[in-house]
């Protein structure tokens, strides 16, 4: 991306709690994404990773002692306004608009801005980042493969030039080769100054894409630290595989 979207805002969350249907999916989680840094949240399934991300985005009811993005109090921002404030979201399971073309999907990513020259430029940048999307711009999103849809979902979130990108399990269901490509994209975005909050089950990918990580277990933060150190910690494997 040629345009600098360097983030200067920190994402600070303290005491985040999410419950639905009587279950405490997230129990008092603290996390921070310093400006321009990439932070990962890993853990086994059902641990509460996705709920945490959805709570930050405002898609589920949540309560928190603090939840701010720079000076903006996120608890007061409805989900549909997040993109206007510079927060992009890539949902778990892609969720592309399957009946619309690739290009339409991307254009909708810029929905909250008037569709003019800036959008055209952003579109060009996304096509440059993901060559294959440019080739398939007229195809229906539903006809794309899983990996292509993942790229489309990320591209769609980038259309509004976000300063913070929330990603939910982008590697899910993808082959190792595609996972490598996603990793390369994430590293490039990070290098350009975009803040990342990455939720993943794939610990290896996360350690390589982020500078620090939280390991979540049963809705609580079990471990937190620098990715470089966590990647050699045998406790991580115990949390995942129970042995």
């Amino acid at each position: 991306m040629t345009q600098t979207v360097t983030s200067t805002d920190d994402l600070v969350v303290e005491g985040l709690t999410v419950s639905y249907g009587g279950v405490r999916a997230v129990r008092s989680v603290d996390l921070t994404v310093p400006a321009g840094k990439a932070v990962g949240i890993i853990g086994a399934n059902g641990a509460g990773k996705t709920s945490t991300l959805r709570a930050v985005m405002g898609l589920v009811p949540r309560s928190a002692t603090t939840m701010r993005w720079g000076s903006l109090d996120l608890t007061k921002v409805p989900a549909r306004d997040m993109v206007r404030h510079g927060v992009g979201y890539v949902p778990e399971g892609r969720h592309v608009f399957s009946g619309l073309t690739v290009e339409k999907n991307l254009l909708l990513g810029a929905y909250s801005r008037p569709w003019k020259a800036e959008t055209k430029q952003a579109l060009g940048e996304v096509y440059e980042l993901f060559g294959v999307l440019g080739e398939m711009r007229g195809r229906l999103a539903g006809a794309l493969s899983g990996g292509q849809q993942q790229m489309l979902a990320i591209g769609r979130a980038l259309m509004c030039r976000p300063r913070l990108l929330l990603l939910d399990e982008p590697s899910m269901g993808l082959s190792p080769k595609l996972v490598g490509e996603i990793l390369a994209v994430l590293q490039r975005l990070s290098a350009e100054g975009l803040s990342l909050l990455l939720v993943e089950q794939n610990a290896k990918l996360t350690f390589e894409a982020t500078s620090s990580c939280l390991v979540v277990e049963n809705g609580e933060v079990a471990m937190v630290g620098a990715s470089e150190e966590l990647r050699h910690d045998p406790n991580v494997r115990r949390i995942y595989l129970g042995l």
Binding site: G21, G22, V23, R24, A25, A44, N45, G46, A47, G93, G142, A143, G146, E169, S171, M172, G173, S175, P176, V179, Q201, N202, A203, K204, L205, N218, R231, H232, P234, V236, R237, Y240, L241, G242, L243
Partner: protein, 602 residues
């Protein structure tokens, strides 16, 4: 409590008997018509509130009952009672016919088909000679009853009130017995109902049959009362009035439907000079009810009680989850000939996405098998194929050696497969006991005929089921919660209720979908004990889980899925150390993770 209930009932009965003496001719006429609408409302309540079927043809059933009676008596010279029997039979036949789309389509399609019937019916009435066209048919003979002149509206009232009492009692009888529970389960969650042995398409037809019986009967009574039938009584406007009665009164309670019928009839009478204003009134109340009081007037007492309970901190209820009482050990059994579950080359494609790719596995009888894998690996899809929710694109499923590929969840439930669901699918508007009762009921749908002919048999069956249900609740420590509604219960207890419900099926194969999700350490431990005991009683258990600690300690054999394929299959120890498994989960190979350990060893 019971005495005051009886007291109120006795008072109502006395009032009902005495009523005609206290009112004038006009009022008794209004009352007679109101009772007929109350009967219609009960019929609608049975279809809409109890069974969840949108039935907008009730007014047509009403019309059919009236018109067939009229035509047979006036034009063919039949006696009133003989004609009425045929009228009811004809109405039910049409009711069943109208519901045949119900075998294949869902609620709003039924709504349009039924509304279409109502409109077509009125149109037909107005245009045919047989029905006297817009003029209708007059001169219906007075129904003959030895010793009573039923042309008197006072005496007719007693006939009606008797019919009403019988019909309301029968309706309540249906609701509180196995058939009613199955209908309500179907209303709450048709998918889960199927998995618990309820044959949904047949039940939908039953709902319509019941509704049409009430409609036909109301029609017969109407013909005998007014002795003149014309198309405008059976108009769409009246259909919507009837619908308003049921919604405002509370469609899930038959008494509520009656209250709605009586209430709206009173309003209509009060505003008889301003019928259009009355219509605006009850149309608006329908909208308000839907927004603010979805359970209608009948649901208000419960809601008020709920608010009251929330204000006063929970002091009274000391309901406690008791410990689980293990099953009796089935002891050593000769190895069964066929494995409990065989999945043979199962593939499942969803519009280009391959969720399962030639999955083959075999679970011997009496094993506890764990199925694990990262997110999106196809575990729940596999379960859904095995339990009949999805039809596989290829491959076979065999239960105890019987090939049951592509069978519906209802048939699989009959074959001894029971399951729980990842997102909990308890019937939210039914008590814990009723949830278990639905699953306990193993009768086939065709035994419904007993309701028409031999009610005591149904009653005895119901009593037997209740005894069994109490035993199961006792075993699972849920006795204190028997009368509670699932949404009000803590999550861990709901999970246990779901397992109890599945075990109520006396299954041979139990599928548990993420049973430990959301449970704390203690609850997970209890879950493990329960599952072991279930297996010891002779049931084969297959579970999907993410809680690896539980899987490792509980399962004798673990199958690992990733990307729709099996990547490992062996004991927990083998599987947890297999490099391809570690890679699938952590995206890593052994080397990267354990350099420190390696150093120590050397």
């Amino acid at each position: 409590m019971r005495y005051s209930r009886f007291g109120v009932l006795a008072l109502l009965v006395v009032a009902a008997i005495v009523l005609p003496y206290a009112v004038g001719r006009y009022t008794i006429h209004v009352i007679d018509v109101t009772i007929i609408f109350a009967i219609l409302a009960i019929g609608m309540g049975l279809a809409m509130g109890i069974s969840g079927q949108i039935n907008l043809a009730q007014i047509a059933f009403f019309g059919l009952g009236s018109y067939v009676t009229a035509i047979l008596t006036v034009q063919e010279g039949w006696g009133f009672w003989t004609a009425s029997v045929l009228a009811i039979l004809a109405t039910v036949a049409v009711g069943l016919l109208v519901s045949t789309p119900a075998l294949r389509v869902q609620s709003h399609y039924l709504g349009i088909v039924t509304l279409g019937l109502a409109l077509a019916f009125t149109n037909w009435l107005t245009n045919t000679e047989l029905t006297g066209g817009a003029e209708g048919i007059s001169g219906i003979p007075v129904p003959s009853l030895p010793g009573a002149d039923l042309s008197s509206e006072y005496l007719y009232y007693y006939l009606e009130i008797l019919a009403f009492a019988v019909l309301l009692t029968f309706g309540q009888f249906v609701v509180r017995t196995p058939l009613g529970r199955r209908l309500r389960a179907m209303r709450d969650d048709p998918l889960a109902a199927g998995a618990m042995g309820a044959e949904v398409p047949m039940l939908r037809m039953t709902a319509f049959a019941l509704s049409s019986v009430y409609g036909g009967l109301a029609g017969v009574l109407y013909a005998g009362l007014i002795r003149y039938v014309a198309p405008e009584t059976f108009s769409i406007a009246n259909m919507f009035l009837l619908l308003a009665m049921v919604i405002i009164g509370g469609r899930q309670s038959l008494v509520g439907c009656v209250v709605g019928a009586v209430g709206l009839s009173l309003v209509r009478e009060w505003l008889v000079d301003y019928p259009t204003y009355a219509q605006i009134a009850y149309g608006s109340v329908v909208v308000l009810t839907v927004l603010f009081a979805p359970t209608g007037l009948a649901g208000l007492p419960e809601r008020i009680r709920g608010v009251y309970r929330r204000r006063r901190p929970a002091s009274a209820s000391r309901a406690v989850l008791r410990p689980f009482q293990p099953y009796d050990d089935a002891g050593e059994r000769a190895a069964a000939a066929a494995p409990a579950l065989e999945v043979d080359g199962i593939s499942k494609n969803f519009r280009g996405l391959t969720a399962l790719d030639e999955v083959t596995l075999s679970v011997p009888t009496g094993e506890i098998r764990g199925i694990v894998g990262p997110n999106g690996s196809g575990k729940t899809t596999l379960f859904n194929v095995i339990s009949g929710f999805y039809k596989p694109t290829g491959g076979d499923v065999r239960i105890d050696g019987r090939t049951l590929t592509g069978a519906s969840s209802y048939r699989l439930a009959q074959a001894g497969v029971a399951r729980t669901f990842q997102n909990l699918r308890l019937f939210p508007a039914m008590t814990v006991r009723e949830n278990v009762l639905v699953a306990l009921d193993r009768t086939r749908t065709r035994s419904i005929w007993r309701y028409a002919v031999w009610q005591p048999g149904v009653w005895l069956h119901d009593r037997a089921l209740r005894r069994e249900a109490d035993a199961i609740l006792e075993r699972f420590g849920l006795a204190d919660f028997a009368g509670a509604l699932p949404p009000a219960l803590p999550y861990g207890i709901q999970r246990r209720v779901e397992i109890a419900r599945a075990m109520a099926r006396s299954p041979r194969l139990l599928l548990l979908d993420e049973p430990a999700a959301g449970l704390n350490g203690d609850e997970v431990r209890q879950l493990g004990e329960i599952v072991r005991s279930i297996r010891d009683s002779g049931v084969t258990v297959v579970l999907i889980e993410h809680n690896m600690g539980l899987v490792m300690s509980l399962c004798e054999h673990v199958t690992v899925l990733a990307g729709g394929r099996i990547i490992a299959d062996g004991t927990p120890g083998e599987v947890a150390t297999a490099p391809q498994v570690i890679e699938a989960y952590l995206g890593d190979s052994m080397d990267d993770v354990l350099p420190a350990e390696k150093e120590v060893r050397s």
